[in-house]
């Protein structure tokens, strides 16, 4: 579908997972190259979030393989995914509401003092640095994130994903809870990270969001891949047709789910 021959950062091949006999994801293959933004589209319940949760280690697939930099990867837990440089910003943000920003950013990867105790001062200093880049007005470092606004919580979740030098970033509906100005900031951030060579999976049900940012789109319907296309080769209406009808247009490569 495109000519560049670089090894994909991530390749998911024939991924399937079933919950109680219902195939949430059925034989889906997607890939992602360095500096590329791939939009993952589909209705609610199409299996997008389940697919990326497999990549981020929350679920283990029943079948299929994941390759990172061309090598087979075994991702069974979120910790494994992070070891491969795969970071996720979940739709729910997945923040522990009762803990402050630094505690959330470093959750599971705390900085320790030589005595094995939490090095809160260092973590707070690092948090101040990364938040200064993402949200310069952020001041509430000592409060539980429950007290923060939607945009502030979002920036804490993003900070957690980018602080640890992610190579693959999964953003699940990153702008669903944000106002127009904040949405624009997320868009700017996506473009900046892309420039740094990070590959981004952008999950959204808003086709306009995705068309503005993505290089390619993959569309899912009922757990199956309808098709993938370069954004330049298809129109928004054609992609809408893929999402709603499962109809694959001539500019796209059809998947097993195409009708």
């Amino acid at each position: 579908m495109q000519a560049n021959g670089t090894t994909p950062l991530v390749e998911m091949r024939d991924i399937s997972i079933a919950f109680g006999g219902i195939k949430a994801v059925d034989g889906v293959s997607v890939d992602l190259r360095p500096g590329e933004v791939v939009g993952l589209l589909g209705h609610n319940g199409a299996g997008k979030s389940t697919l990326i949760k497999i990549l981020s280690g929350a679920y283990r697939p029943d079948a299929g393989e994941i390759y990172v930099n061309g090598e087979k990867a075994d991702i069974g837990t979120p910790r494994d995914a992070k070891r491969y440089g795969i970071e996720t910003i979940y739709q729910t943000l997945a923040l522990a509401d009762n803990i402050d920003a630094a505690g959330n950013i470093f959750l599971g990867r705390e900085v320790l003092t030589p005595y094995g105790t939490l090095d809160d001062a260092t973590m707070e200093a690092e948090t101040r640095k990364v938040m200064a880049r993402l949200n310069p007005h952020f001041r509430r470092f000592k409060e539980p994130v429950k007290a923060l606004s939607g945009g502030q919580r979002q920036s804490v979740a993003i900070a957690r994903a980018i602080y640890f030098n992610a190579r693959v970033l999964i953003m699940d509906e990153p702008t669903a809870a944000l106002g127009p100005a904040e949405t624009q900031q997320v868009a700017d951030l996506v473009l900046q990270l892309k420039k740094e060579g990070i590959g981004i999976f952008l999950i959204s049900h808003d086709i306009h969001d995705v068309f503005g940012l993505a290089d390619r789109v993959s569309v899912m319907k009922n757990g199956r891949l309808v098709g993938s296309a370069n954004v330049a080769d298809v129109t928004q209406d054609e992609v809408l047709g893929m999402i709603i009808l499962g109809k694959c247009p001539p500019g796209a490569v059809p998947g097993p789910g195409a009708s």
């Binding site: 923040l95 509401d97 707070e124 200093a125 949200n135």
Partner: protein, 432 residues
């Protein structure tokens, strides 16, 4: 992401709220101390000055120790959105085991009153309690059986097991050195040791405040004003010294003082000899447990994970935290603390009975909840729970002092529990 609300400037009004926030003092904790003060002064007036005497306060501190130790573990259990109904029963079975251990098994091997008897009994209590806790934690974390059910079953099982140890017979008396763990005359540390402990505590308070301040200054973080640190240090050290003075103002009974004087080769003077009790060993144990558990909860990764699990279990899991193992350890810790409490209450009673610790689970849970631990999970402090234990025990011994009948005591304690949670809910909703 330029959130407008982020720049809300702190108000500079000279209100008491901003004074307290400058000191970074937990207002809730202050409220609890005020409530405790009201209870103490109220009972003192009603009892005609009997409540606020060194003797009563000393006994109160000893009576609180066992529940206070267990309440520190219950905080972590409840913070993870679980409950442990089996703590009283675990205390019972562990108490029976270490009772039989030092009355029947160890004397057969070491002889009576051997110096190793007490240490072995304590280690056994901690190991047995911890093992029971870990087992229940395994059922809860790895087999996904609700903690309410596992520990409700545990309540019956361990209480039954306590009976089986001796088929219901009470075991007594305990080893003399072991008895010191329960307070009483053997467990009173005396005036000199008490002042030394108080001085060390004051030193630690000042050093801890200084270190935390220095670290924040080094990173260029905002610090509380210097006078704020000074005020806190002064109040904390003052409280420690007053507590030490009260413990030292309670003299040993005359007969025991005379025996002590004879044993130490001191001539018994004409007017009698006033030998202070000093702080009681179980109280010192409870304070050390409280400090240790606070360290665990606030300064270690384990504590951070416990609170993260309580705040959002899914987020904790997605962060790569081994939530099951963490949960199992929380219950293991709870069992271990039951073992310590079993030592304290068995030693205090100078006997192991299969009914020891009955209803303790409810007092422990009530202490944690009165102390501000939220049953919804994610919120709670060790110090609050220990203060909660002190509030409960104050109510009970105050009513005993006034000659209130036991059924009425239970009614009052129950009503206070419900009222405390109601007031706490009001407070939380108001600050939100």
């Amino acid at each position: 992401m330029t959130a407008p609300s982020a720049t809300a400037a702190p108000s500079h009004g000279a209100t008491s709220a901003s004074f307290l926030s400058k000191l970074e003092i937990d207002v809730r904790m202050l409220g609890m101390l005020a409530a405790l003060g009201v209870i103490w002064i109220g009972f003192d007036i009603l009892s005609g000055g009997l409540f606020l005497t060194p003797r009563n306060l000393w006994n109160l501190s000893v009576q609180t120790a066992s529940i206070a130790v267990m309440s520190t573990g219950m905080v972590l259990v409840i913070v993870t959105r679980n409950i442990d109904l089996s703590v009283g029963a675990i205390l019972g079975v562990v108490g029976m085991i270490i009772g039989v251990l030092q009355v029947q098994w160890l004397p057969a091997w070491l002889g009576f009153e051997h110096w190793l008897t007490a240490p072995i009994a304590v280690v056994a209590a901690v190991l047995v309690g911890g093992a029971i806790g870990l087992f229940q934690g395994w059922l809860i974390a790895y087999l996904a059986i609700p903690s309410f059910i596992v520990t409700l079953g545990g309540l019956l099982i361990w209480r039954g097991a306590a009976w089986w140890v001796t088929t219901g017979q009470t075991v007594a008396p305990m080893d003399t050195r072991f008895k010191a763990l329960g307070g009483g005359v053997e467990g009173a540390l005396g005036a000199t040791a008490t002042w030394i402990i108080a001085a060390v505590a004051c030193g630690l308070i000042v050093v801890a405040l200084g270190l935390s301040r220095r670290r924040r200054v080094r990173f260029g973080f905002p610090v509380r004003p210097a006078w704020g640190d000074a005020v806190i240090a002064a109040f904390a050290c003052g409280a420690v010294l007053i507590a030490a003075a009260i413990a030292n103002a309670y003299p040993l009974p005359v007969g025991i003082a005379r025996r002590w004087a004879e044993a130490n080769g001191i001539a018994w003077p004409e007017g009698g000899l006033s030998i202070p009790h000093g702080i009681a060993l179980p109280v010192l144990i409870a304070i050390i447990v409280g400090l240790g558990m606070t360290f665990l909860a606030r300064r270690l990764r384990f504590g951070r994970y416990v609170f993260a699990i309580g705040g959002n279990p899914e987020a904790a899991e997605l962060s790569g935290i081994n939530t099951r193992w963490t949960l199992m350890k929380v219950f293991g810790l709870m069992g271990l603390l039951c073992g310590i409490s079993a030592c304290i209450s068995t030693a205090r009673l100078n006997a192991a009975t299969n009914a020891a610790g009955s209803l303790d689970e409810l007092y422990v849970i009530a202490s944690a909840v009165i102390g501000g631990t939220s049953l919804a999970g994610g919120v709670g402090t060790i110090a609050g729970a220990m203060l909660g234990a002190l509030v409960m025990q104050s109510l009970q011994s105050g009513m005993v002092l006034l000659g209130v009948d036991t059924p009425l005591q239970n009614i009052v304690v129950g009503a206070v529990l419900v009222l405390a949670v109601f007031v706490d809910g009001l407070y939380r909703r108001r600050i939100k």
